[in-house]
């Protein structure tokens, strides 16, 4: 239980991280997250199975392609909608649906759509057998968090990102182009989303419906944690991760998919800005 809850939580964190990074920097809620996730998985599958590319090449290319799609989506569509939050959500959600339904139309359904695990086998931890893929996911999650922390706090680009997130006008006044930063934040978020897909999808089959599920999970984790807080994502992932595992063990596994949503509703009721969210600062006029 301890071990599985932990792994489940890290998986949730990986799923939510891309969404949270993009939102934290550019305030774009990327509702095509689920579409990007499945796209990352299916592109990897296509390169690997249909084109016969080496696994890591295929995965790498897929991640890059999804990153580029994220950046292009900002450059072509979102840049015109800045500030119109509802339009942003509709635009990104539409793209997500287009991707997912297109894949469904192309016949992505069934057991054959499945990425192999990186390394077969399992090891025993605290008396529980754990697949090596899951161990890789946990390690990758830790490394990703570390890289993210170093990037945000110890590079000049990270500093510019924080500047834009904290005070867009001032960033403009010191020569930073917020549109460029936002585009990069979408690329980064999309890359993290595809990376999560590459790592996590080998645990099951690639199905279009999971795309919608992934979006909801990412949303739930981010809203519970507080939308722009990476620490919040981590904590919320662990809360939901363990509640899910507990529910499937002691109540019913058919209820687990409701858990993230239930937690989200509870948090929205008692603390709308999330556990680590800051209540909105008052917007001042220029």
């Amino acid at each position: 239980m301890l071990v599985y809850g932990f792994i489940n939580s890290v998986i949730l964190m990986m799923i939510a991280l891309g969404f949270s990074i993009t939102f934290g920097i550019s305030r774009v809620a990327n509702f095509s997250h689920g579409g990007f996730y499945i796209l990352g998985g299916i592109l990897t599958w296509y390169g690997l199975i249909k084109l016969g590319l080496p696994y890591f090449l295929s995965a790498g290319l897929s991640i890059i392609i999804v990153g580029i799609i994220g950046a292009v989506m900002y450059r072509v569509v979102l840049v015109r909608l800045r500030g119109l939050e509802l339009s942003e959500v509709i635009a990104t959600f539409s793209l997500g649906i287009v991707i997912l339904e297109l894949l469904r139309g192309l016949g992505v359904f069934g057991y054959e759509f499945r990425n192999p695990v990186f390394i077969d086998g399992s090891v025993e931890i605290f008396g529980v057998g754990v697949g090596i893929q899951r161990i890789i996911i946990v390690c990758a999650g830790a490394v990703l968090l570390l890289i993210l922390h170093v990037f945000v706090h110890h590079t000049k680009m990270g500093l510019a990102f924080r500047g834009v997130a904290q005070q867009e006008h001032t960033a403009l006044s010191v020569g930073i182009n917020p549109d460029q930063v936002s585009m990069l934040s979408l690329a980064m978020g999309s890359i993290m989303c595809a990376l999560a897909a590459v790592l996590i999808l080998p645990l099951g089959v690639i199905s279009v419906d999971e795309g919608y599920d992934i979006l909801i999970k990412a949303l739930a984790v981010c809203i519970i944690g507080g939308l722009e807080s990476t620490l919040g994502v981590l904590v919320a992932a662990f809360i939901i991760g363990y509640i899910e595992v507990l529910t499937s063990m002691y109540i019913s596994s058919s209820l687990t998919s409701v858990i993230p949503l239930a937690c989200m509703l509870v948090i929205l009721l008692i603390r709308p800005s999330g556990i680590f969210g800051k209540s909105k600062e008052i917007e001042e006029r220029v």
């Binding site: 500093l159 904290q166 001032t170 006044s173 182009n177």
Partner: protein, 246 residues
């Protein structure tokens, strides 16, 4: 060729004409003061010059090039810096990191340097502007600094940027006389080092001591222009400033 030439600048918000066919020139190496009652269009003029707003019509010629409507970050990188009337620091960054951001801007890129190396430079600038170096002040997040420090941080930011034309929007408002007295010489020093300055200001007495020329706005229109001495005598200015002792 004029250094900065504003031509028939106009900006409306819905039915409100915030800036109404305003024209004036700024000579290189001089300080222009813009005054006028609240709501007379001073901040809007600043926003039009610095790219934070697009004019409905009119030109902003900077060294002969029309920069009206260019992206603000672009204008910054051409050498025009600004401060905000309502202070806008990066609240969750320490004071000195607030300056590291402009120190990395394309404008000062040629100085080189990696992350971390610019911290010293930032601390130097802060020390010059009155953040006691040995105290904890430069390391505190901007969110907990008192107003006087935040105003100075606004100024430090454009100094870090090495802008050649600096637009201050009510830099002195909310500052004590002593604080103003310590900042005024710094502004004169900026002029001496060849910078050009536009100061939107309500503190007329302090402004008139250092300004070369004054433009007076009222309800979006330019109602007077001239040396501080001339402006003080203008009846129309006195009327716009009813009750204010010049």
């Amino acid at each position: 060729m004029e250094y900065l030439k504003i031509e028939n600048l106009r900006k409306t918000f819905g039915g409100v004409v915030a800036v109404d066919n305003v024209s004036f020139d700024v000579e290189q190496g001089t300080l222009l003061g813009i005054i006028g009652p609240n709501g007379s269009g001073k901040t809007t003029t600043v926003n039009l010059i610095t790219g934070f707003l697009k004019p409905d019509s009119g030109k902003v010629l900077f060294k002969g090039r029309d920069i009206a409507g260019l992206r603000a970050s672009k204008i910054t990188n051409l050498g025009i810096g600004r401060t905000f009337q309502m202070v806008k620091p990066f609240y969750r960054l320490p004071a000195f990191k607030n300056l590291v951001v402009p120190l990395f801007s394309p404008r000062v890129k040629r100085m080189g340097g990696h992350y971390g190396e610019k911290d010293t430079l930032a601390l130097d600038i802060l020390e010059d502007i009155g953040f006691e170096r040995d105290s904890a002040v430069p390391y505190k997040p901007a969110s907990i600094l008192p107003h006087g420090y935040l105003k100075r941080l606004e100024m430090a930011r454009v100094i870090a940027l090495q802008s050649e034309l600096i637009v201050f929007d009510e830099l002195y408002s909310g500052l004590t006389l002593a604080e103003v007295a310590s900042i005024s010489p710094m502004i004169e020093k900026l002029i001496e080092t060849g910078k050009t300055i536009i100061m939107v200001e309500h503190r007329l007495k302090e402004l008139f001591k250092i300004a070369h020329k004054i433009v007076v706005l009222d309800q979006g229109k330019k109602i007077a222009e001239g040396s501080p001495r001339e402006i003080m005598k203008q009846p129309s200015v006195k009327k716009a400033y009813l009750g204010v002792e010049l």
